[in-house]
Amino acid sequence: MERIIFYILAGIIIAFAIASVSSRKMLRSVIYLLFVLCSIAGVYFLIDYNFLAAIQLTIYAGGIIVLIIFSVLLVHHIEMRLEIAKPSKQIVTGLICLLGLGVFLFTLYSHDFQVIENTATTKVADIGTKLLSYEEGGFILPFEVISVLLLAAMIGAIVIAKGNKLSENNKTA
C-alpha cells in the first residue's frame, strides 16, 4: 500500500517538476511547483516526519508560493507567453543534465548504504529539545543565527522593495 502511494507521489513530483520548468505560462508553472511541494510533503508524511511535513506545507506551499504568485501577478501580464531558450540550447542542456544524472545514479547504485531497519517515530518534543539544547550536539547557535538571518532578510526585503521612496524620505529628514 505504502509502496503504491510512494510511486504515485514520485510520479507526481517528477512529472510536475518537468512541467514546471517547461511550461510557457508563468502562473501555471508556479501552480505546478505547488503540486511538487505538496507531494514532497506527502513523502515526509510517508517517512513519518510529520513536523517536517507541516513545515513544508505552511512555509513552502503557504508562504513561498504565495510570494511567487504575488510577484508574477504584479510583474507580468498573465497571458504573456514566456520567451524560451533556443531548441539547440535546450537539447544540449538536457543532454548535459542527463549525463550528470547518469553520474549521480551510477555513484548512488554502486555505493552500499548501511541502512538500519527501523520503525522509529520522531516526536516534535524531541526536535524542540534538540533545537534549544546547548549541550553537546545541541543546535542553539544555528537556531539563534537563523533567527538573526530571518530578521536581516525581513528588513532587507522591506528596504529593497521600497526602493526610492525610502531613500528620498531619508534625504528630506
Binding site: E2, R3, A10, I14, A17, I18, S20, V21, S22, M26, S29, V30, L33, V36, L37, I40, L46, I47, D48, Y49, L52, I59, Y60, I64, L67, I68, S71, V72, L74, V75, H76, L82, E83, A85, Q90, G94, C97, L98, G100, F104, L105, L108, F113, V115, I116, E117, N118, T119, A120, T122, I127, K130, F139, L149, L150, A153, G156, I160, A161, G163
Partner: protein, 105 residues
C-alpha cells in the same frame, strides 16, 4: 521508513528532481522562473537530508534540523529575491535576464 521502498529509489527521485531544477535554471530566461528552479533544487537537497537521516541514522535528528534550517534560508532567500525583482521591475520594466545590465542604479 517506508515499507518496501529502499533508499535507492528515494535518492533516485531526488536526483531526478535536482537535475530538472538545474535544467530549468539554465534554460529559463526569466528571473521568476529561475527562482522556481532554485526552489526545486533546494527541495531535492532537503529530501536527501531527511531520507538519509531516516534510513541510516534513525536515532539522530541532525538531518531533520538541517532541513529546517535549509527551509528557513530558502524562505529568506525567496523574500529577498522577490523584493529585488520588484525593484528591478520598477527600474527597467522587465524581469528578463537579458535586459538586466546594471547592478546598481
Amino acid at each position: 521508513m517506508i515499507a518496501g521502498i529502499t533508499i535507492y529509489e528515494l535518492l533516485t527521485v531526488t536526483s531526478i528532481l535536482f537535475f530538472v531544477g538545474v535544467y530549468g535554471f539554465i534554460t529559463r530566461k526569466n528571473l521568476i522562473s529561475i527562482l522556481i528552479s532554485v526552489e526545486l533544487i533546494l527541495n531535492a537537497s532537503v529530501i536527501n537530508f531527511v531520507v538519509i537521516n531516516k534510513y541510516m541514522y534513525p536515532d539522530m535528528l541532525q538531518g531533520v534540523l538541517f532541513s529546517i534550517f535549509i527551509i528557513a534560508v530558502a524562505a529568506a532567500e525567496t523574500a529577498l529575491a522577490v523584493s529585488i525583482i520588484f525593484n528591478l521591475y520598477r527600474q527597467i520594466s522587465s524581469v528578463e535576464v537579458k535586459d538586466i545590465e546594471t547592478m546598481k542604479y
